[in-house]
């Protein structure tokens, strides 16, 4: 399939009083047309910074793209100036944010907030834009669109606001949709609704999606491929099957092991010990070594390269080196992997 986005060796740093925070340290991934890539990883691993950098939305200063290429349909977004980016944002790439309570302008009517992009990018006049807003509100499941568009955000519930945010993102039929934890701030039933909505929309619009989440259950549900981020790097990337049935990186094992399953009451959860490294002073060697019970001497000295597991599956761990000892994932994780295999096998047909 054709590559829509190709990110090469992306480095993003923040210049703070304490020094340079290396939030993203050499990230490589691509997104193909119409596919959904999930990015998972614990808090602070650089998921938001990576995706914000794609749209040049990181605050500058202190942030800056230090190095790397962001090829979007062959053009390098990292080299574009603000004016050029304004033509990309909202039109070619748009973003759905985490907290619908704060991501809408409280003093602007909802309809006007959706219209803004249409008027700017599609050169629509007010009445054309209004028609499209009604369509969009219908699409995201907000009834009574004609009246609702004249209301302000505080007149909407959290779930409804997130639908508005989705409508804003979809307004100009972007080729790439970035959803940064779009359901985290919502309660469980609403989460499910928004997820359904997003899946539904993907089917209808065939835009590619980058879906950031903490929730591996969500990943199994929406994604084609998964990138696992740790301390500003992608440590493992592969298809959903690769990551769930055949994870290679101890950090991925940890993530899978720490995921509670429905029938898990009696099982022990496999918690990842320790805390993520300080990105002001990233450690030498593999950033995960200090928390990794399988760490070897070399892990503290030299960073592992990306090893190829299969055509779709890559992982950055010395365990994949031919001289490394054979290590199996811990029992708890293995059990979980089997659980995943069972539970997701019947949802297979549903995956987009």
């Amino acid at each position: 399939m054709e590559k829509l986005l190709d990110v090469k060796n992306l480095h993003v740093s923040f210049d703070t009083y304490g020094g340079e925070v290396k939030a993203v340290r050499g990230v490589n991934f691509d997104v193909k047309k119409g596919e959904t890539l999930a990015i998972v990883g614990e808090s602070g691993s650089g998921k938001s910074v990576t995706t914000k950098a794609l749209m040049q939305l990181i605050p500058k200063p202190p942030g800056r793209i230090k190095e790397g290429e962001i090829l979007f349909e062959g053009r390098d977004l990292a080299q574009m100036n603000e004016k050029q980016m304004q033509r990309i944002r909202g039109k070619e790439i748009s973003m759905i944010f985490q907290d619908p309570m704060t991501s809408l302008n409280p003093t602007m009517k909802v309809g006007n907030q959706i219209m803004e992009g249409l008027i700017k990018h599609q050169k629509m006049n007010k009445s054309q834009a209004r028609k499209r807003v009604v369509e969009l509100l219908d699409l995201v499941g907000i009834p009574d669109a004609e009246n609702r568009m004249k209301q302000y955000p505080h007149q909407f519930s959290g779930g409804m606001r997130q639908r508005v945010v989705v409508a804003i993102a979809l307004a100009c039929n972007p080729k790439l949709l970035i959803a940064d934890e779009p359901t985290t701030a919502l309660d469980v039933t609403i989460q499910a609704q928004i997820l359904e909505l997003m899946k539904d929309i993907q089917k209808k619009t065939d835009s590619a999606t980058i879906f950031i989440t903490h929730d591996l259950g969500v990943v199994a549900n929406v994604a084609d491929r998964v990138a696992v981020m740790y301390a500003g790097k992608i440590v493992e990337i592969g298809t959903v099957d690769d990551i769930f049935y055949n994870p290679k990186h101890p950090y991925t094992w940890g993530l899978l092991g720490s995921m509670p399953s429905l029938e898990s009451s009696d099982e022990e959860l496999f918690a990842i010990p320790g805390t993520p490294p300080d990105l002001l002073h990233p450690p030498k060697g593999d950033a995960f070594a200090a928390r990794n019970r399988y760490a070897m001497q070399i892990d503290f000295e030299q960073e592992p390269p990306m090893f190829k597991v299969s055509d779709t599956h890559y992982a950055s761990t010395w365990l994949l080196h031919e001289n490394a000892p054979d290590i199996d994932p811990p029992a708890a994780v293995k059990k979980r992997m089997e659980g995943m295999a069972n539970s997701s096998s019947h949802s297979e047909g549903e995956r987009i």
């Binding site: 603000e82 990309i88 302008n105 409280p106 803004e116 945010v165 804003i168």
Partner: protein, 308 residues
Amino acid sequence: MTRYIIQRLIYMVITMFLIATLTFFLMKFLPGTPLSAADKLSEEQQAVVLEKYGLNDPVPVQYFNYMTNLVQGDLGISFQFDNREVTTIIMERIGPSMQLGVQAMFIGTIIGILLGLTSAIYHNGMLDYSSTFLAVLGQSIPSFVFAGLLQFFIGVKLGWLPVALWEGWEYSILPTISLAIFPIAIAARFMRTEMLEVMGSDYIVTARAKGVNKFGVVFKHGFRNALIPLITVLGPLAVGLMTGTLVIENIFAVPGIGEQFVKAINMNDFPIIMGTTLLIAFLFIFIILVIDLLYGVIDPRIRLAEGE
């Protein structure tokens, strides 16, 4: 909305009633009589005068009379300017004070907002530092010092504008500037803080993610949201101006209410003191009402909550 305004107006009347009562009785506790200045009167003459102004009646009767007259818009008769009505005197004097107050408020908030915006947009740049410096200066130096400096440099040295008195519009410029310094400083500082805060909020990122340009982000999305908290300081600012005029009018010899008020206090002219106090109280309550209504205009969340 209409119901809300009517409700507020009723509260206003009640508040005014309470203030009138309070000032009336406080005034009764003031030492001295209006006659102490007119030493030369004999006991008999004094008695006649006191009788004439009704000051011999028992206090409750005086209170009742005062309030009945007040309701009819009659503030009584001045002690010092024989037989002139307080209402007339205040009416004559209110013009210059109002003009100064309104001009200073207008210029003050507009310039202040512009300065604050500039600061926020060019955050940590030269423009930011200089306008912050100006704001600190304007806030810490009392307005009468500015008044003196302006009089000396612009009035005397350069001779561009009249030093004092009130004989035309150009006479209002220096007092207005002196009065406006404080509102400028406050509005600038406030606007800067609010704007910086607003520009860091999530919906600004949303706007940028839509492809809105910098102008649109600042003015369509940022400005209005930063204005809401600014309205909160407008009330105290207006009050500051009211008291500020007392001093400034004296410095520039402006025939306004403030100057009159100071004279009245020196002479124990109760009706004028009462009248002016009530006027200032009324203006104050009125401004608070206007500000609350302004909130509703700018912030949809408040408009609806109270419209219901």
